[in-house]
Amino acid sequence: MKLRAFHQAKWDEEVIFELSEKGERGILVPPVEKGIEDEVGDGISALPVSLRRQAPPALPEISQMRVLKHYLRLSQHTLGADLNVDIGQGTCTVKYNPKINDILAASPKAAELHPLQDESTVQGALEIMYRTDLFLRELSGLDRFSFQPASGSAAILAMASIIQAWHESRGEGASRDEVMTTIFSHPSDAAAAAVKGYKVVTIHQTEDGLPDIEALKRAVSERTAGLLITNPEDTGIFNPQIDEITGIVNAAGGLCGYDQANANGILGVTRAREAGFDMCFFNLHKTFGTPHGCGGPACGALGVSRSLSEFLPVPVVDLQGGTYTLRSDLKNTIGKVRSFYGVFPAILRAYAWIMSLGERGLREAANVAVLNNNYILEKVKKIRGASAPFAPGRHRIEQVRYSWEKMTKETGVTTEDVALRMADFGFHLWSSHHPFIVPEPFTIEPTESYSKAEIDEYLAALNKISGEAYEDPAKVKGAPYRSVVHRIDQAWFDDPAKWAITWRSYLKKHGKSV
């Protein structure tokens, strides 16, 4: 497999404030019609002096094409999924985001809708939300969905909120103050529970990489409020005891929330219902092909069982006599977790994704994602210095957490070094969430979107870098060479005297020159 002679664009582009030329304009504001000025004057005189801005904001002044060019250059300094074989950002499910779905979302019939319009004027939008809810019920086995959470973490927060409200409704709100999670579940499964005031109990893994079920049995008590867990976890190992785990927590009186942010390998194969969960959520920007947008806008579609449907955030969409309507009178609702109804463009794109694939296509996507992943597993295990800790000989689902521990011990080359060298070939390589339970971790998740030839090219880059690490480690440690910039001085990020989170702060602390 030949590796392409990649070089990322490098425009040596200024920070935007350096482009300012006094008096230039990027866009003009329409003039106020004469009749208005006659009626109300300058508008400003109506304000007390204390509310008037005295000096204009020190924004740059730049003509339109130069602004455009600046941001286009920055876009070329960014490696989106559309341009690379984006399988190195494991856990993120970076798959194809169909262009037709972007076009549909950009339609004025979607983009120019106001959320407070009369329901009779938004029947199409409500229909899409309603039907997507029905689809996700089929995919999860649960009974009702809300699209309000604007990310996976927001959906976790909503699940923790429902756990809290449910126990409060039963008079146990104060006594049940602990939430269980596992170390290989997403950091937000722990952090969002803590936001709600819960004490977080984290179950670690046993030698086989799965959560220690005996430790969980010891940990649950009358203080247990609930469980927030992924499966497969970040290791990609499916936990066959998942129903036993939910059973333990349910028996202790807790509710079980399934973090299915990434359900890409098991869609249609196994569901939240069969595993005994009371709630789950799907990240539409992962499994359902809506774009990640550099980190949002997004949607964590939250589903619950019938007994919890009155706890969902409001409003939900109902169908009554052929008319779609927004309903807010849920008896135990947690209230709201975002303004309005969530990120509609993401819901619309997910609807189109499901409509394009159907049952067979969604199952095929899951199957091929698993096929691709196990193919990579076979190949990575043969790369010198790499390993796949836990569960030897077993297949994985959608991703694998690998390790460069052996390579680091033998050559000094770390995961970070490899990641920066991968940039020279036009690839991402992500380490893992903290803490690094697996030493020198890296996580690969191929999804269904990339061809075998593309996957082979990615593997060839890993092989090449492994070879370099053993023959010429300095080469890897000096990377990147063909990316946008060179090794960044980390000392600027943790020292309050040095850090500069804005340009004005940089000027105050460091003056004009670099």
């Binding site: 990027g26 504001v29 004057g41 304000l47 509310l51 204009p56 904001p57 020190a58 339109q64 602004v67 941001y71 876009s75 300094h77 960014t78 989106g80 993120c92 037709i100 549909l104 339609s107 979607a110 983009a111 120019e112 809708l113 319009q117 029947q123 899409i128 996976g152 984290t202 947008g293 550099c294 980190g295 997004a298 955030p313 303004s339 309005f340 109804y341 409509m355 394009s356 694939l357 049952e359 296509g361 969604l362 095929e364 698993v370 196990n374 597993l377 969430h433 990339y450 061809s451 990316s483 910039v485 060179h486 960044i488 980390q490 000392a491 943790d494 850090w499 989170i501 804005t502 004005r504």
Partner: protein, 465 residues
């Protein structure tokens, strides 16, 4: 599923049977199902899902979705005066051009090397917002104003080590519900009354309720009801005198013309960036910002990513990266500040583009334009018999309360009649604010022409007659 014909979908290259076979062989298994060996039969879903037949051709899919969307009537096909947390503003073409770029649209979480542009664009967003708000620190965007206000209050709680916050009772209703849920179990929120004549905060009520356990007072300027709070300095003074903080929510599009809250004593400023170059998207265009001074006690309490600028190994080269990463939940899970993750980064980049295009002159002219248009609209509506506008005796920015209660018609009746005339009237305030039954919140911006406003006034004249 027993269909013999292979399912070749354009989104799934390796569904080709011969490729599959080759890959299975390399793995050393005979069938795809073997790869799921870890999933016990009792957990397998063997049923059929009730999903519609797929529309695998793009042409059919497009037609289907467009047919459904065709049942909507958008603000581009009507004359809309709706605001209330999502506002119609002109979106420059360059904003759409940038946020639809494949590179930004499909990027996620790469390193500050191959994703240098993502880091720089968001650092610049922080920097441009910082000038607008006149603060030294701005976060990578959170979900929306509701989340930004929630986190601002929680930050104030941690900074002051106090467990209560006071919230003005004219706050946006969605905001209050999000904040209440977000604080439940850790902090409590109590309302502060407003003056029924001016709409402004009742300072006596504030002074009486602000105790040694009060972390902060939160108010909005412009308020959710459109009027401007003119007592900012005194509100901040009361909070500071008792060792608390002042948190202010603001519509950033007003800040070319209105004093930024820091100028009247705000310690934490938050708000929504949707007005800055982002389409309304049925409420999907929201993004929240939080701004503070560059003091450790503030910076270390942000849950958000904070992108900073730095030197690299090459002289003259800019690099970017995460400031104080170890305060985040990415760094230390539940020991971090609240949580961080995917939120609204693409809208942040877009708002940066917007501010770069507008510049200081554009923001000032736009602010003045909106003031004049909304004052004109209020005046035109106030001429109608029995209609009071604005309801509160305070200056307003782009929104104002219209009181129809003396006309004998409800806001629902009026909006129904307006809809028949192709107009989306203002939001009915009665359900959220019992004291404002018969009132509606109208929003006027630069997208409205004088003719639009005159048409509204004429239609209202017919409706209330």
């Amino acid at each position: 599923m027993s269909d013999d014909k292979p399912f070749i979908h354009p989104y799934i290259p390796n569904s080709l049977p011969e490729v599959k076979e080759q890959m299975l062989k390399e793995i050393g298994v005979r069938s795809l199902d073997e790869l799921y060996a870890d999933i016990p039969e009792r957990l397998r879903f063997r049923g059929r899902m009730d999903l519609p037949e797929p529309l695998t051709s793009e042409a059919a899919l497009k037609r289907h979705v467009e047919t459904i969307l065709g049942r909507n009537r958008s603000c581009a096909e009507a004359l809309s005066f709706l605001g209330g947390g999502c506002w119609p503003h002109y979106v420059p073409a360059v904003c759409d051009e940038i946020n639809r770029r494949s590179e930004f649209l499909t990027a996620y979480a790469g390193e500050p090397y191959e994703d240098h542009g993502r880091f720089q664009a968001l650092f610049e967003y922080e920097s441009l917002m910082a000038e607008l708000v006149d603060m030294d620190v701005v976060n990578v965007p959170t979900f929306d104003w509701c989340q930004a206000a929630s986190t601002s209050v929680r930050m104030a709680g941690r900074i002051t080590k106090r467990a209560e916050a006071l919230v003005v009772d004219t706050i946006g209703p969605d905001r209050l519900r999000v904040m209440e849920n977000y604080c439940r179990g850790v902090m409590s929120l109590a309302p502060v009354r407003h003056d029924p004549v001016t709409g402004g905060m009742d300072l006596e009520d504030l002074a009486a309720k602000f105790t040694d356990n009060t972390a902060a007072v939160y108010f909005e300027n412009p308020s959710y009801l459109g009027f401007l709070e003119t007592q900012g300095q005194r509100i901040a003074g009361i909070a500071h005198a008792r060792g608390g903080l002042c948190v202010v929510g603001v519509d950033p599009i007003s800040l070319g013309i209105l004093a930024p809250p820091g100028h009247y004593g705000a310690d934490i400023v938050c708000g929504d960036i949707q007005p800055l170059g982002i389409h309304m998207n049925f409420g999907g265009g929201q993004g929240g910002f939080i701004a503070t001074r560059d003091e450790q006690r503030f910076v270390m309490e942000y849950p958000s990513r904070l992108f900073g600028i730095a030197k690299t190994a090459v002289e003259g080269e800019w690099g970017f990266g995460d400031v104080a990463y170890d305060r985040t939940s990415f760094g230390v899970r539940e020991q971090g500040k609240e949580f961080v993750g995917t939120a609204a980064a693409l809208w942040g980049i877009t708002a940066g583009v917007y501010l770069a295009l507008m510049g200081p002159q554009g923001m000032r002219e736009l602010g003045q334009h909106i003031l004049q248009k909304s004052q004109y609209a209020a005046k035109a509506i106030a001429r109608l018999p029995g209609v009071k506008a604005p309801r509160f005796q305070s200056p307003h920015f782009k929104e104002f309360v219209v009181d129809f209660s003396a006309t004998g018609k409800t806001a629902v009746d009026i909006n129904r009649a307006l809809l028949g005339r192709g107009i989306f009237g203002g939001k009915d305030l009665g359900p959220d604010f019992p004291g404002l039954a018969g009132c509606a919140l109208y929003c006027v911006t630069e997208v409205h022409t004088k003719a639009d406003i005159d048409a509204l006034a004429a239609a209202l004249g017919e409706v209330v007659r």
